[in-house]
């Protein structure tokens, strides 16, 4: 579904945030993206969400090579992706309903379908009775649930979550993880950036670990649906080391 080949990213003339990143994500799986602060997790999420373009390498998403497409033709790819931001990124001048309805309005979905789907989803995330509230009047956990509802309302193929539990207490974080597990069971591919080891242990899934710009794999016992492979250059490098 998604593959990165020799992908590198740098901002301006600064050193590369990461280089030679290679991995393939299969459909319907769940991956953690971990690593210390500043390791490039958010940059990788930005690449996956097409908010950034790689400075080198190839990214293939949903059978389309991203580098070969112009900005407007990537709209279809973007609509298959939902994102949960660490800082929620809610629009405070819109109420809960309108925040969640945003991706559907962008897709010009019929208003009667928006009304039905958004209400159902808000009931599902436990905010059905607060759809006319404004985000700033709600708690952090409730705001995070709005953010999640917005990310999944258009039934994305890929759900990206950047430190979704970073601002939440353990109890709400656990509820959030149960929600993600439920979405995963429904067939949504999930990539969740986190450095919360407890969550990773309690909800074991394969891990992509970013450190010093290098991506490595840590497969946990229960799931192994990630195909991480080394770059040809790295394979040559390994071969040289074994000589």
């Amino acid at each position: 579904m998604i593959s990165f080949e020799e992908v590198g990213l740098r901002y301006g003339t600064q050193p590369e945030v990461f280089s030679g990143v290679n991995f393939t994500l299969t459909q319907g799986s769940f991956y953690y993206l971990s690593g210390p602060s500043g390791a490039g997790k958010t940059s990788l999420i930005n690449l996956l969400s097409l908010n950034e373009r790689p400075t080198r390498g190839f990214i293939r998403m949903f059978n389309q090579v991203i580098e070969h497409r112009d900005r407007n033709s990537l709209v279809g790819v973007r609509r298959k992706i939902g994102i949960v931001f660490q800082d929620f990124r809610l629009l405070n001048h819109l109420n809960v309903f309108d925040n969640v309805a945003l991706p559907l309005r962008i897709k010009r979905t019929q208003e009667k379908h928006i009304q039905k789907n958004v209400k159902e989803l808000l009931d599902w995330v436990g905010l059905g009775d607060k759809m006319h509230y404004y985000p700033l009047t709600l708690s952090g956990g409730e705001q995070q649930r709005i953010s999640i509802a917005r990310a999944i309302v258009s039934q994305p193929h890929l759900l990206l979550a950047d430190e979704p539990t970073g601002n939440l207490d353990p109890e709400i974080s656990e509820k959030l993880m149960k929600l993600f597990e439920q979405l995963h069971r429904m067939g949504t591919t999930i990539v969740m950036a986190t450095h919360n080891e407890r969550i990773i242990q309690d909800h074991p899934h394969p891990i992509l670990n970013l450190d010093n710009g290098i991506l490595t794999e840590r497969i946990q016992p229960t799931l192994s649906d990630i195909k991480l492979r080394k770059s040809p250059l790295a394979e040559v490098s390994d071969a040289i080391k074994h000589l």
């Binding site: 908010n51 709209v75 609509r79 629009l91 001048h93 819109l94 945003l102 962008i106 208003e111």
Partner: protein, 290 residues
């Protein structure tokens, strides 16, 4: 059903009012400048058409009857002269009254010239010179004034003023466009997160541009309407102040239907320019931003 939701939080009551006010002032000024330029242009054209067909013949006091008769014959036989009419002495006194006391003029102690107004057909400068030559041949003291010299100067000055007015209008239009462009850029940078969110959620550039256009349009329409109404009030106030009926008729008769249509369409052009500028600015900034 129009169910537009302003997703990017562009509204800002304080600054929005200032922007509408600025647009209103600019539109009002542009309309007044355009009206002035058109008015001046038509006025000078009217002068040109009316005065080039008029000449004045001044015979000094004491000119003999035979000389006057020869002058009349010459005027009657000249192909350039369509008609001529002697101004009666009372009218001459009225013309001179601002400079010479009327009571003194009525004593007949002041020598008054005999003046003829001539209606001329369209003709060349050579034909005008020929007429002058024929009159001078009768008596060197007779003055034939065709107004062409001072008219030419007045016409040149009017043209310069007209160009200046169009220049001012152009500068104001460019200032308005630059202001809209700067405002749009500022709003884009203030709402970068919301724009990125829209973009990530699958919004096309056109969708984001539409958000800006609807916001700017609502402010522009308010400003343009207010500016146009203010310009109309000023125009009517200037025309009708002083209860000068001639001025009222003159103002409305001076503008052609085309001019009035141009003045009515000017706010529409300004609106189109504002929408075009917004669209171009957002499109360009988005390409650089995302």
């Amino acid at each position: 059903m129009f169910n537009f939701v302003q997703i990017i939080p562009l509204k800002d009551k304080k600054h929005d009012s200032a922007l509408s006010m600025m647009i209103a002032l600019m539109v009002c000024t542009i309309l007044i400048v355009a009206f002035s330029a058109l008015f001046l242009s038509n006025l000078s054209a009217q002068w040109h058409n009316s005065v080039t067909h008029i000449a004045t013949l001044e015979l000094p006091e004491g000119t003999s009857r035979s000389t006057i008769s020869r002058v009349k014959n010459t005027l009657g036989n000249n192909s350039l002269v369509e008609d001529f009419k002697e101004i009666n002495q009372d009218d001459i006194k009225s013309i001179l009254s601002p400079w010479i006391d009327r009571a003194l003029l009525d004593t007949n102690d002041i020598p008054l010239p005999t003046i003829y107004t001539l209606s001329l057909k369209s003709g060349s400068a050579i034909e005008r010179d020929k007429l002058k030559f024929e009159i001078k041949a009768i008596d060197q003291e007779i003055k034939l004034s065709t107004h062409t010299n001072w008219l030419q100067k007045a016409f040149e000055r009017a043209t310069r003023l007209k160009l200046l007015a169009w220049g001012v209008g152009l500068v104001l239009s460019l200032t308005l466009i630059t202001s809209i462009s700067l405002l749009t850029r500022t709003r884009i940078h203030l709402n970068t997160d919301a724009i990125r969110l829209l973009h990530t959620s699958g919004a096309t550039d056109n969708y984001i541009i539409k958000q800006f256009i609807i916001y700017i349009s609502s402010l522009s329409i308010k400003g343009i309407l207010a500016g146009s109404i203010a310009a109309c009030i000023l125009f009517l106030a200037l025309t009708y102040s002083g209860h000068d009926e001639d001025m009222q008729n003159f103002t409305f008769n001076t503008l052609t239907k085309g001019d009035i249509l141009f003045l009515i369409l000017t706010p529409v052009f300004i609106f189109a320019f504002i929408v075009g500028t917004t669209s171009y600015t957002v499109s360009n900034t988005l390409k650089r931003m995302i």
